[in-house]
């Protein structure tokens, strides 16, 4: 009797344990249905375009990637385009996201959004800070999204941007991003920086681009262009060069590719560390000297804010590699000429830097060089700094620039072709 009783009890206990286990296991299977994401049902937006719509609305363009293109699954998607572009007019980006599902079969997902294109018209509008500030609340929208200002409507820009060598749109922007870092023609601008530098004493620079050829002109300096002015024939229509300058979240002006490069050099931490540019030759008026510039350490910026007119001393350490010079003078072998060349280049760089500084003092309401960070160092408390008003003082500041130049090498040819030179002369 007692044996049976204990056996029964044991069996009951085992049964109970099993039931408990089943209940726990079912928890694993039944839960997690609220935020489930089916990979097959996602539409990944890779580019978003923003235009000004009527009556305070915004026209949102989505470029949605077709994940089957460029994968091994291409067989089932033959004839499908690599991406689809659709525009919606809505009150903000997030409501446009839902609205898009009236057309698109899959759930719109921003998780892989890398690029945001804003038309210049909208960027200059007072509503833009509100739109950008509102959109960032969505946790799907990353702060690392690159921000590009297009001269024309963002919709036209996205429609026209059909790169021939890159089928997939996300790849195009991913590769372009690497090139921006290398050339320094455009600032590397993200939404994070835009939001950061939305304060009175700071300026934000965004990538300036266009898909239309504007007044095409040829400059002796290869980089003094704005987007749309680069002299090119054929190829993809999109050009990205120069910067859109923002103040208080609104676009207030532009910088050319050349100016942009110097601005990057004047910032204490540059996102670009080497680029190729050219200067006039000290010995021959028409000839050009092309060099590769390296930033040789951080830019040193010293402030003297004691007087009403602040004094700023900028020291820019650079090293250069001489790539080509059309004058064919024996710079490499003649130390005297070398010294002259270095002095000349130094003066040229200094004057170009000063020109950019003067231009921003005159044209812009603040400094685009992120010098406010150095100004902040001179104040103990935030209220004291805010009362000082850095941008107001920057505009009347006296700036002097000193370039420390080191000529590293002369390329893989030592002596120039003097023969040719003599014949010409």
């Amino acid at each position: 009797m007692t044996v049976r009783n204990t056996r029964n009890r044991k069996r009951n206990r085992i049964l109970r344990r099993m039931l408990e286990c089943a209940a726990l296991l079912s928890l694993c299977l039944l839960s997690g249905c609220w935020d489930k994401l089916e990979l097959e049902e996602q539409a990944f937006v890779v580019v978003i375009g923003l235009d000004k719509g009527p009556r305070n609305t915004v026209e949102v363009t989505f470029q949605i990637a077709n994940p089957q293109i460029g994968s091994s699954d291409i067989g089932t998607a033959e004839g499908e385009p690599p991406s689809d572009t659709i525009r919606f007019t809505s009150s903000d980006i997030l409501s446009a996201k839902e609205l898009a599902n009236t057309v698109i079969t899959r759930t719109i997902n921003f998780a892989h959004l890398k690029t945001m294109i804003v038309s210049e018209e909208l960027a200059r509008d007072e509503i833009f800070p509100h739109i950008a500030g509102a959109a960032i609340r969505d946790p799907e929208l990353r702060r690392e999204v690159a921000m590009i200002v297009s001269r024309e409507k963002a919709f036209d820009f996205i429609m026209k941007n059909r790169p021939r060598l890159e089928t997939r749109p996300h790849k195009y922007y991913e590769l372009m991003q690497q090139r921006w870092m290398e050339t320094g023609y455009v600032p590397f601008s993200t939404l994070n920086q835009y939001l950061q530098q939305q304060v009175t004493d700071s300026m934000f620079l965004a990538i300036y681009a266009t898909a239309r050829q504007h007044n095409h002109r040829v400059s002796r300096h290869e980089d003094a262009y704005l987007a749309g002015q680069v002299p090119k024939r054929a190829g993809d229509p999109v050009q990205m060069i120069g910067a859109a300058v923002f103040h208080n979240g609104r676009m207030v002006g532009t910088l050319t590719g050349e100016q942009m490069r110097w601005v990057q050099m004047l910032r204490h931490k540059a996102s670009v560390d080497a680029f190729i540019t050219s200067f006039s030759d000290p010995l021959e008026e028409d000839a050009m000297v092309t060099v590769r510039l390296f930033k040789n350490g951080n830019t040193k910026i010293k402030f003297d804010l004691r007087k009403e007119v602040p004094r700023i001393h900028v020291t820019l350490p650079l090293r250069i590699q001489l790539l080509s010079f059309t004058s064919l003078e024996p710079y490499a072998t003649d130390p005297e000429m070398q010294r002259m060349l270095i002095k000349h280049l130094k003066e040229q760089i200094e004057s170009e830097l000063l020109e950019v500084i003067r231009l921003s003092q005159k044209k812009f309401p603040g400094d685009p060089f992120e010098w406010e960070l150095f100004a902040r160092k001179h104040f103990m408390t935030m209220p004291a700094y805010q009362a000082y008003g850095w941008s107001k003082h920057f505009k009347k500041a006296k700036v002097d620039v000193k370039v420390e130049l080191r000529l590293e090498n002369f390329g893989k040819q030592r002596t120039p072709y003097m023969q040719t030179k003599r014949k010409e002369g």
Partner: protein
């Protein structure tokens, strides 16, 4: 007593509990609230708060030293009598309960806002507390062992996070270094000292630790390292996001993890960090649930405080659901901080005074009470 049957915890396990329980604050709403008033100098506040709390801690430790083998509740009962002891215990319990509720709600809010937006709040809350309860039910030794097990991967993950973000850090953004002014910083630091209130609550667990020395070293080390860690991470947040952008960001730690990527291929590294973060939040709340049951059990002199864990988790759940939205959680947190700072700050001095009075009365020749002296030794 079943408490005696429980395994004792070694020094390193005990230290790692505090590294987790206190260090967790670098990832929750604590930092955001401190930035609000601390601005660019927000990183100084945790250090100041710890400084204030350490004064109270030292006073309390001087009392604890005289009562070997006894935790805060035992001492409080010994010196405050039945009524006074229960009152102080319940006060501490109430402060800890509200703290746990508001903090856990903050965590659930973070999960809700940053990761699972469509999942109802109560479901997330239930899951978090159920997991924490499960760990807590295994006992203090289990919590300690888990903490010791995961402490190195966690600290490693934080180091990894900072090193990934290193190129986005610009220390110049920490200027002006006094932020809103020295007076305001000290005031905020003092008002928010209760964020290290665990340093007082933890003394309840002295009997759980292998030796008093291990407790002393473990708690002091845990708190100092954690506050340095919080302070450093707060400096990193400002130097990545800049002021005033930092006060616009609701959850800087989660935002920081969102900005990370491992090279160009793995661009969404946040899930890696979120996984770690979820893991430690479970341990964190397991510790709290254990502590709550322990405190309440002692206050009402229950025989087995472990049985109180389920009701405690339920209480936390229901109180945690009271605030209507995330901003209300913040204002409740602020309110709670200022009141419990008073409690945690004043209590050690009261205990110290009561202890002194009692000792002087017992030592005085008019009332020779031989019964009073062996009391602590009997328990030890």
């Amino acid at each position: 007593m079943s408490a005696l049957q429980e395994e004792k915890v070694g020094g390193r396990e005990f230290t790692s509990i505090f590294l987790i329980a206190v260090g967790m604050k670098l990832s929750d709403i604590t930092t955001t609230i401190l930035f609000d008033s601390g601005q660019t100098a927000g990183w100084m506040i945790p250090l100041l708060s710890l400084g204030f709390m350490l004064i109270a801690y030292v006073v309390l430790m001087s009392v604890l030293k005289r009562h070997p083998g006894q935790g805060l509740p035992e001492i409080v009962f010994a010196i405050g009598g039945k009524f006074g002891g229960a009152l102080i215990c319940l006060l501490l319990f109430a402060a800890a309960l509200l703290m746990t509720s508001v903090t856990s709600r903050g965590y659930v809010d973070i999960i809700n806002v940053m990761v699972y937006q469509r999942t109802p709040l109560y479901a997330l809350y239930l899951m978090l507390l159920a997991a924490a309860l499960y760990v807590a039910h295994r006992g203090f030794a289990a919590i300690a062992r888990i903490s010791w097990l995961i402490i190195f991967p966690i600290e490693g993950a934080i180091v990894l996070l900072v090193s990934i973000m290193w190129q986005d850090i610009d220390w110049l953004r920490l200027f002006p270094w006094l932020g809103p002014g020295p007076l305001k910083i000290v005031e905020t630091g003092l008002m928010h000292s209760a964020m290290f209130g665990e340093i007082i609550l933890a003394t309840a667990l002295v009997p759980r630790v292998s030796s008093f020395k291990a407790f002393r070293i473990g708690s002091a080390l845990g708190f100092v390292i954690s506050s340095l860690k919080i302070s450093f991470l707060m400096a990193v947040y400002v130097s990545v996001f800049d002021y005033p952008e930092i006060i616009h960001i609701a959850y800087p730690f989660q935002q920081l993890t969102k900005n990370t990527s491992f090279g160009r291929v793995f661009t969404h590294a946040e899930s890696f960090f979120i996984a770690f973060w979820l893991l430690i939040s479970v341990v964190y709340f397991a510790f709290y649930i254990y502590l709550l049951a322990y405190l309440f059990g002692h206050a009402v002199r229950a025989s087995d405080h472990r049985k109180l864990q389920i009701p405690m988790a339920g209480l936390v759940f229901f109180i945690g659901l009271v605030p209507g939205n995330t901003e209300q959680v913040r204002s409740y947190w602020e309110l709670l901080m200022s009141y419990s700072t008073l409690l945690y700050g004043a209590l050690p001095f009261i205990i110290w005074m009561l202890d002194r009075i009692r000792r002087s009365r017992h030592d005085s020749p008019q009332h020779p009470q031989p019964q009073a002296q062996p009391n602590p030794q009997a328990n030890a």
